[in-house]
Amino acid sequence: MKNTIGVLAVQGAFAEHIKALQKLNCHCIEIRKPSDLTDHSLDGLVLPGGESTVIGKLLRELALFEPLKDRIEAGLPVLGTCAGLILLAGQIAEDDTIHFGTMNMVARRNAYGRQLGSFQTAAEFDGCGTIPMVFIRAPYIESVGASVDILARVDHHIVAARQGNMVVTSFHPELTADLTVHQYFLSLVQHKAKTCIA
C-alpha cells in the first residue's frame, strides 16, 4: 500500500521532496492549511528546507503550528531538512527562538555563513554508504542530548541525526538524485528496520 506523506508547503523546497517521495511510490499531500491535515490520514511528515523564520511564522499564522506539533509529539514520523531541522531543534545557538523544539539538540543557523559559504560534498550516512550532500546557507547540530543518534558528520560537525520518530539533516537530500535519506525516512514510516539502498 502507498504511504501518504504530508509535505509542509508554505515556503521552500517542498516540490523537490514531493518528487523524491513519488519516486519511492508515496502519495504526497501539500500541507498549506489546517484542513489539509484533517482531510487526510498521514503516515509521515516532511518539513522541507527554506527560510526557517518565514516557515516558523507562517506555521503560526496559518494555524498549522499546534496540530503539527501534536502529531509530531504523538509519534508521527517526521523528516526535517535544513530549515526543517531548525524547526525541530530544542535549542538554537545564540537565538531564543524555539519552534516545535521536540528534538533534544542544539542547532546553529546559517552555520557556514552566507550564500557564498554554500557547498556540496559527500559523506557517510549511518552505514548506508557515502551519499552526496548539498549545503545551502545550512545549519549544523552543535550538540545532541540523550536518546539522539548521530547519523552523519562532515568536518566534525553533526549534519544528520535521529531521535525516535524524528530524522533531521542539515543538508538537502531532495536536491540530489540519491534517495538514501528518503528511503531511510520511509523505513521509519513503515516501522521496519533501517534499510539502505544497495
Binding site: E51, T53, L58, L62, N110, Q115, L116
Partner: protein
C-alpha cells in the same frame, strides 16, 4: 521584497519575506528620479545584511561585471542583473558562469530566459514593468514564457533544431525544455505586483515565487500588505483566505499605466 533601509528590511523579514533586495531607491522612485541608476552603496547593503538573517540580494546594471564583482566581495547572497538600473552594456550580459554567487535575471519571453540561463543565471523572473504597480506586463511575460514552453513540449524532436535557431538559444536547452516541460531553473514573477490578488494571479499562472518591489513600501500600510502578500503566495488557490487577506490593507501604491510611461524598462537587455 525591495527595501531601502535596515528598518524596512526588518519589516519585510517580520512579514515573512524569504529574501530582501537592498536598493537605494525602489523602482518607482528610480523612475521618477530619472538619470543614471547604478548599483547601491555597499555600505547601505551591508547595513541591511547586518539587520536580517534572511538572504540579501542586490542589483547590478546589465553587463556590469565589475559591479557584480564588488557585490560578490561583500558576500551578497544573490545578484539581480536588472533592467531596473541603467544598462552598462547594450550588447553583452554578464558571464554569470564565472561567479560563485547565484544570479537572477529578468525575461519577457522564453528566448531571453534561455539566453540568460546559458550565460549562467540560476533563477529567472519576469521583467514585468517595475515601479508601476501595473501587473499587465508581468502577466504577459509569464503567459508568453509558459506558452512557448508548451509549444516546445509538443514539437517533434527533429524540429527542435529550428526552434533553437528561431529563439537564438542553445539547442541543448531547447531539448531540455522539450523533455521536462519547464525551465531548468526556478521562475519567479516580478514587476508591477501590488496586491495579494496580483500575487495569487501570478502564482496561478505558474510562477514559483513573487518579487514585490515598489508595491510594499509605496503603499499605506507596508507591514500589513507585506504579510498579506506572503500569505497569498503560500495559499494562492484559496479564494476565501485571499478575500480575508485583501481586506482593509489601506491604500495600494497609486501606480501608473504602461501607456502613461515613457521608459519601458522591460525593453532593456534582450
Amino acid at each position: 521584497m525591495d527595501v531601502t533601509t535596515a528598518e524596512q528590511a526588518r519589516i519585510a523579514q517580520e512579514a515573512g519575506a524569504c529574501a530582501v533586495m537592498a536598493l537605494e531607491r525602489i523602482p518607482a522612485n528610480i523612475r521618477s528620479a530619472g538619470g543614471v541608476s547604478r548599483m547601491s552603496d555597499p555600505k547601505m547593503i551591508k547595513s541591511i545584511q547586518a539587520a536580517v538573517s534572511i538572504p540579501v540580494m542586490a542589483k547590478v546594471r546589465i553587463g556590469h561585471f565589475a559591479e557584480a564583482q564588488i557585490l560578490e566581495a561583500i558576500e551578497i547572497d544573490y545578484i539581480d542583473e536588472s533592467e531596473v538600473l541603467s544598462p552598462a552594456d547594450d550588447t553583452y550580459h554578464i558571464d554569470k558562469t564565472s561567479f560563485s554567487v547565484p544570479f537572477v535575471c529578468g525575461a519577457k519571453d522564453l528566448g531571453e530566459a534561455l539566453r540568460r540561463i546559458s550565460e549562467g543565471a540560476s533563477m529567472i523572473r519576469t521583467k514585468g514593468e517595475p515601479g508601476t504597480g501595473d501587473v499587465v506586463q508581468a502577466v504577459r511575460h509569464m503567459r508568453l514564457i509558459n506558452q512557448q514552453i508548451r509549444m516546445i513540449q509538443n514539437t517533434r524532436e527533429d524540429e527542435l533544431f529550428q526552434v533553437a535557431k528561431d529563439l537564438q538559444v542553445p539547442y541543448e536547452l531547447v531539448q531540455l525544455v522539450n523533455e521536462t516541460g519547464k525551465l531548468p531553473v526556478v521562475n519567479f514573477a516580478a514587476g508591477g505586483i501590488a496586491t495579494p490578488a496580483d500575487a495569487a494571479l501570478m502564482m496561478q499562472l505558474g510562477a514559483e515565487g513573487v518579487f514585490v518591489g515598489s508595491g510594499i513600501f509605496k503603499s499605506g500600510n507596508p507591514a500589513k500588505r507585506a504579510q498579506a502578500i506572503v500569505k497569498a503566495v503560500t495559499n494562492y488557490n484559496d479564494a476565501k483566505l485571499l478575500a480575508e487577506l485583501s481586506e482593509d490593507l489601506g491604500e495600494a501604491m497609486v501606480g501608473i499605466n504602461e501607456q502613461e510611461i515613457e521608459l519601458l524598462m522591460a525593453q532593456r537587455g534582450i
